[in-house]
């Protein structure tokens, strides 16, 4: 059924449709509505799972650790400082190989205080062992939450579904909400192999030596690598069931394009408009939207890239001392044989607009740049 939904509500509704057994939350702008909607659904009896209103995000993720170890399908949503506060537990949940799913509503990290969209919160959790998926519409938010449970429970790694603060979280868009029976057919109940149970007295997370630690981390690496194909597979299954197919990458008008705008999140929709505008000017523009950040879709990216291609990477994030994070990761994935050039642009930090005009300008600069001297870390601002 088509509904007009905010991104936050699409996320909470997806959790209900996924038959989440334990939802945990804590308020933070701009995620709060997802938390409130879960509380409301619980109060009305529409959400049959357990609902915990924790006293901090650190405790939210600790409760997720406990609930998932006890064998429950879990959900939470957070943003910015909340995600940063969870950091210790993010490692713990991933290391425990628990398929938790969390929504992160992108918001810049303080100081200074800023409430608006920026990927510095989610990307600074890149080494925690969580998969990360970036959405460009509210439909994709709902769909990606559902797919994430299936992917996470197959590879036994947690997944973070990321959407832009306000741009998606507070914007109303038409969303096709599937029937419960359709979701049930796509997503079977979670059946963990080992759970916390007094009848089976085992330890979870107990002390190990270097040899076991390394072996466990290698298994994690192997499962992260496997996730690349699982993401594609589940995206195809989802497409067959609901008519909307997803993969690690989403290419738009790239077939004959030499210079490509590379984006993530809601900027992807703006980039399509920019590509259309450039095409109207007779220019061969394309857009590549990165859906997965972890596992990094290196293989898919190498297959996509052709020699001589110029990638104009738009980063709404910045790693001080290193540059835009997507640009860095893309360069690392393409090194050394791709013969494509990667040009980094940092834009829209702290919620600044990334407009159709700005993206066209970036595209034109890269298209006319000296490909042997790629642009690094160019900071661009909305001229208004």
């Amino acid at each position: 059924m088509k509904k007009v939904l905010m991104g936050n509500h699409a996320a909470a509704l997806a959790a209900k449709l996924a038959r989440v057994q334990v939802a945990v939350g804590y308020p933070i702008t701009p995620q709060t509505q997802a938390y409130e909607m879960l509380a409301e659904m619980k109060a009305k009896g529409e959400f049959p799972g357990e609902f915990i209103a924790a006293e901090s995000e650190h405790s939210v993720m600790a409760a997720i650790l406990g609930a998932a170890t006890a064998g429950a399908r879990t959900f939470t949503a957070t943003s910015s400082q909340g995600l940063a506060y969870m950091h210790e537990l993010l490692h713990w949940v991933a290391g425990s190989r628990l398929p938790a799913v969390m929504v992160d509503v992108n918001r810049a990290l303080a100081a200074p205080w800023n409430l608006w969209t920026d990927q510095s919160d989610s990307l600074s959790q890149r080494d925690t062992g969580w998969m990360q998926f970036y959405c460009s519409t509210n439909q994709e938010v709902l769909d990606t939450v559902l797919m994430s449970y299936k992917i996470a429970e197959r590879v036994m790694l947690p997944a973070m579904v990321v959407l832009d603060g306000f741009t998606l979280s507070h914007s109303y868009e038409p969303v096709d909400v599937p029937e419960q029976s359709e979701v049930d057919a796509f997503l079977p109940p979670y059946k963990p192999e080992v759970v916390l149970d007094y009848k089976n007295p085992v330890g979870f997370g107990a002390l190990v030596g270097p040899k076991e630690y390394l072996r466990l981390r290698r298994r994690m690496a192997a499962d992260m690598a496997e996730a690349e194909s699982v993401i594609e597979e589940v995206g195809r299954e989802f497409g067959a069931a609901f008519g909307r197919r997803y993969g690690q990458l989403d290419a738009y008008r790239c077939a004959d394009a030499r210079t490509i705008l590379v984006t993530s999140g809601a900027v992807g929709s703006t980039a399509r408009a920019a590509v259309d505008a450039l095409r109207e000017q007779g220019l061969k523009a394309g857009n590549l939207r990165m859906r997965s950040f972890r596992p990094f879709p290196a293989k898919a990216l190498r297959e996509f890239v052709r020699p001589g291609m110029r990638l104009a990477v738009v980063d709404r994030n910045y790693s001080p001392g290193a540059g835009g994070i997507w640009a860095q990761e893309i360069k690392a994935a393409l090194y050394p044989r791709s013969r494509a050039s990667v040009h980094g642009y940092v834009a829209g930090l702290g919620g600044g607009d990334i407009t159709v005009e700005l993206l066209q300008e970036v595209w034109k600069r890269v298209d006319s740049a000296n490909a042997s001297v790629p642009v690094a870390e160019t900071w661009v601002e909305d001229a208004r």
């Binding site: 334990v22 357990e50 650790l65 998932a68 007094y198």
Partner: protein, 287 residues
């Protein structure tokens, strides 16, 4: 000798604790009181190590290890997860040291107590960060030497009144215990198991290396803590306090303090002040 303590053992002798460890004595009696249908959450503390490295365990029940600040929150999640899966009978126990309770875990403890989570939270209070080699915590008493409060004077601040903090949350059940009084301790765990809602036990847990006591004196020092009146054995249910071990003729606190090397630097005035504060608490209790 007849005893009310169940004979079943749920902890084996092959643990990694120091000789005379109060935390293992406490665990043993706790498990006898709690019974089989129990799962544990253990944050960073001595017990992270004591059960032994994977894949072995000295405990005959499942343990989920959690980060330092997270015992109460992780136990909250475990209870919710079990409930969601239709298991309403398993007892969920968070088992933390004083550092993980008085200090870094206080926020999560307060949250779980405030929500009246259906869990048992146990603080085995050995009055310092013992697992990292004896540093001061909020549970360290005034005048006690630690590695982070060196010198003769020891810790400058009085022990944080955790009991008052926890009681301010109106828990369903609250009790103190110490291993010298094994029957009392076992009974309290057996009782806690039958009560719904947030239950809290603080155990005064002797630590020979941290208290600088002879391992053979652990039970003795635990008993003297009660006999001198420094540590009161009591329960609070429905807001009503009951003293379990009224001490008619309290021994001087010096008998407890002088058994422990950590109080070696304590001056006569400091000892007198401790005696006066104990007397004051007991005299208040009389009125």
């Amino acid at each position: 000798m007849k005893t009310s303590i169940p004979v079943e053992e749920r902890m084996s002798a092959g643990h990694l604790a120091c000789q005379g460890c109060g935390a293992t004595m406490s665990m043993r009696y706790a498990l006898k009181g709690l019974g089989e249908k129990t799962v544990f959450v253990i944050p960073a503390c001595c017990w992270t190590v004591l059960a032994g490295p994977a894949p072995k365990s000295a405990l005959d029940l499942p343990v989920l290890h959690s980060p330092f600040a997270s015992a109460a929150a992780t136990a909250t999640g475990v209870k919710a997860g079990l409930t969601a899966r239709g298991d309403r009978e398993t007892t969920v126990v968070a088992w933390a040291g004083d550092g993980g309770t008085f200090d870094i875990g206080l926020q999560a403890l307060s949250g779980a107590a405030d929500r009246n989570e259906d869990i048992i939270y146990v603080c085995y209070d050995n009055e310092a960060y013992m697992n990292t080699g004896v540093q001061r915590s909020g549970g360290t008493p005034e005048g006690a030497w630690t590695m982070s409060t060196p010198g003769k004077a020891g810790s400058a601040r009085p022990k944080k009144d955790l009991d008052a903090i926890v009681l301010a949350h109106h828990p369903a059940y609250f009790a103190t215990a110490t291993p010298a009084y094994a029957e009392d301790m076992t009974r309290k765990f057996a009782k806690a198991r039958t009560i719904k809602g947030f239950r809290f036990l603080r155990i005064l847990s002797p630590c020979p290396p941290g208290w600088k006591t002879d391992p053979k004196d652990s039970a003795k020092v635990s008993r003297l803590a009660v006999q001198t009146g420094l540590f009161r054995l009591y329960e609070v249910e429905n807001g009503r306090m009951r003293l379990n071990m009224p001490v008619a003729n309290r021994k001087p606190v010096g008998e407890y303090l002088r058994l422990q090397g950590r109080f070696k630097g304590l001056s006569a005035e400091a000892e007198a002040a401790i005696q006066a504060s104990v007397d004051k608490i007991w005299n208040e209790g009389k009125s």
